[in-house]
């Protein structure tokens, strides 16, 4: 399966060195690292497509896949937004500006931006699923005239989990762009809906049977969203999901990311619903 990105590594090789140039704390557990490849030529040549991921390596600890939350038109700023949850991400959380890590990538097949032109776009994300779609939103903002109406729906468990509050506020002010937020548990001053993100579909002013939908988040949230959108006439080809499984090699060799017959690292991580309908929602796959 060819990947949509420029094939950079016909043979699997070691990472490149990257330096932390900016670090932002987004929430008590979520932080953003902006990286720069220390080899100037590699840095200049680096390109990615929205939805792809990099393998980030912490010296002496390990390597993990992290989606690219950068602006595709500013590839010199390699942005990764990360939740502190495991051994490697706890180490990344301790990084400071100037610290060095390893980077391999980009890998995988991203969002179907070519199909998005001229269409209404519905973006449904949950939790940190907002990160892999950020490059798409940036792309749309750069070329707003190429796309129809845009709705950005983001759900979180607790209102305090919402990152990028200011960004959502700015996006909501763009022409023909709606931002709808949902939290299972609202905090003080919560501006959005209280409950599941799927409840926000009732507030949409676009025809879901005709729009392109991009989804990223926990599988139960994507499952509930897909069911409701299909019920409302969405086509399985117009519903795209970013899937996640254990990934260790990122080139389809280590076997961990197998999802049915798919290798998520290579055939995905973004799939049209029609490609994975026979697997989606099945426990233990």
């Amino acid at each position: 399966m060819p990947c949509s990105g420029t094939p950079r590594m016909p043979e699997r090789g070691p990472p490149l060195e990257a330096e932390v140039v900016t670090r932002v704390d987004e929430s008590p557990t979520v932080f953003t690292l902006v990286l720069s490849l220390t080899d100037p030529q590699a840095h200049r040549d680096y390109r990615f497509e929205p939805g792809q991921f990099n393998m980030l390596y912490l010296y002496g600890v390990g390597e993990i896949p992290i989606s690219i939350a950068a602006d595709p038109e500013r590839p010199g700023l390699l942005v990764h937004t990360i939740r502190r949850v495991g051994r490697v991400t706890r180490g990344f959380a301790a990084l400071q500006v100037g610290d060095r890590i390893g980077l391999r990538g980009p890998f995988g097949r991203g969002w179907p931006l070519a199909q998005a032109q001229g269409r209404d776009i519905l973006i449904v994300t949950g939790g940190l699923g907002c990160a892999p779609v950020l490059p798409v939103i940036r792309q749309i903002i750069h070329h707003r005239e190429r796309y129809g109406r845009v709705a950005i729906l983001q759900g979180v468990k607790h209102a305090d989990d919402l990152i990028w509050r200011e960004r959502y506020h700015q996006w909501a002010a763009l022409p023909d762009t709606r931002v709808l937020l949902a939290a299972d548990v609202a905090g003080r001053d919560w501006p959005g809906h209280v409950g599941l993100v799927t409840a926000l579909f009732d507030e949409l002013d676009m025809d879901v049977s005709d729009c392109l939908t991009l989804m990223c988040g926990p599988e139960p949230m994507m499952r509930a969203s897909a069911e409701r959108l299909l019920d409302r006439g969405a086509s399985p080809d117009s519903l795209w999901l970013s899937m996640e499984r254990n990934m260790q090699c990122a080139v389809g060799h280590c076997g961990h990311c197998q999802y049915g017959e798919k290798f998520i690292c290579r055939d995905g991580p973004v799939f049209p619903f029609s490609d994975i309908a026979h697997l989606f929602g099945e426990p233990g796959l």
Partner: protein, 365 residues
């Protein structure tokens, strides 16, 4: 052509003279393992193998034959896709700068004597996985290019074998440099490549008689006929996917220890995990690749969540991938009928029995 048994040593010498490290079967710890051979005397002469579900026994027969058994726990896979090897190394200097270097595989030209048809079929599958995708594995590729394969047609399949049902044996039909048929007094020899042909030119060969050729043909036919285990033919992906909730998955999970032996002896299982091995002084860290198993809990771990929590899910994943997923990924089954997963399972789980039960077509039902 025919090579008299007394000249077998000359085949081994011809390989060594060409600079090959010689790997072949020998007896160790009550099993037949593939390891370095110093000469024909190391071969498992007069040994027979008795296998059942969860059982492997060697027996002495007094026969002069060296290949009158089916297979050992491993053959080619560990020679190419090593159980553990470093892929790259990171060096950290005092200022925290990192330098990454690929660890080049140490490759010795290697000749393997006694390769079975099932092993060749498995090798062709591993080639597709590691070499034919968008990204090649340089370690596998380097070792694969340095390999010379001397197949021996299988005349003594184990009770656990079912290569006739998968269509992969017992006769080696392709993928070898040389192929032998073992007879009591020697070997019929055929070449399958230019490298094999060149080696034949060095050997004291005689013309093969019709009687010997017929003898060899009949032995291979008998080896196919005596196999009793079967596996349903074709792509089982849809059929197995329709049975995701079959109670048999829970039943087999009651017996399965999730030890992963089946995946370690399987000649096509390709899963590996990656691990860091930092030096004690902190100045370097090696990035290792080690065989993994879909029976381990960590195999399906993502940020705090294990996708395949139950052993039933893991067994279902393994069997469905082996007999179904492989068809979609690589155009054929991932099972070559070697029966190793049956023989080396500590509790004797038999995938042929399980797949028939799940699909409801048990041959004896």
């Amino acid at each position: 052509m025919f090579l008299a048994r007394t000249h077998l040593g000359e085949l081994l010498s011809a390989l060594r003279d060409r600079g090959y490290r010689l790997i072949g079967p020998r007896e160790r710890d009550g099993a037949i393992v593939y390891d370095e051979l110093s000469g024909a005397g190391d071969l498992p002469r007069g040994l027979r193998q008795s296998c059942g579900a969860g059982e492997v026994r060697l027996e002495r027969t007094g026969s002069p034959r060296c290949f009158a058994w089916a297979n050992g726990p491993q053959a080619l896979k560990p020679l190419l896709f090593q159980p553990a090897e470093p892929l790259w190394q990171a060096t950290c200097d005092d200022s925290g700068r990192l330098r990454f270097e690929a660890v080049e595989p140490r490759v010795t030209p290697t000749a393997v004597l006694g390769v079975r048809a099932c092993d060749l079929a498995a090798l062709a599958l591993l080639d597709r996985h590691f070499l034919d995708g968008a990204v090649r594995d340089p370690h596998y590729a380097a070792r694969r290019a340095a390999l010379l394969l001397i197949a021996v047609n299988c005349t003594h399949p184990a009770a656990t074998c079912f290569c006739a049902a998968t269509g992969d044996g017992p006769e080696a039909r392709q993928g070898f440099d040389l192929r032998l048929d073992e007879l009591d007094d020697g070997y019929l020899v055929a070449s399958g490549s230019a490298a094999g042909e060149a080696i034949l030119a060095d050997l004291p060969l005689e013309a093969a008689t019709d009687a010997r050729r017929q003898n060899a043909r009949e032995a291979v036919a008998a080896a196919a006929a005596q196999q009793t285990r079967t596996i349903p033919p074709g792509d089982l992906y849809d059929a197995l996917s329709r049975q995701r909730r079959h109670p048999r998955w829970e039943a087999v999970a009651e017996r399965c220890l999730a030890c992963g032996n089946c995946t370690q002896v399987c000649p096509t299982c390709f899963c590996s995990r990656e691990q860091e091995q930092p030096a004690l002084d902190g100045s370097t860290s090696q990035h290792l690749r080690e065989w993994d198993s879909c029976f381990s809990e960590g195999h399906s771990y993502i940020h705090g969540l294990v996708i395949r929590q139950s052993v039933a899910h893991r067994y279902r994943q393994w069997l469905t991938h082996k007999l179904g997923g492989w068809h979609r990924q690589y155009g054929r089954s991932g099972c070559v009928g070697c029966g190793r997963c049956i023989a080396w399972c500590p509790v004797g789980i038999d995938l042929t029995e399980e797949v028939h039960a799940v699909l409801g077509d048990a041959p004896d039902a």
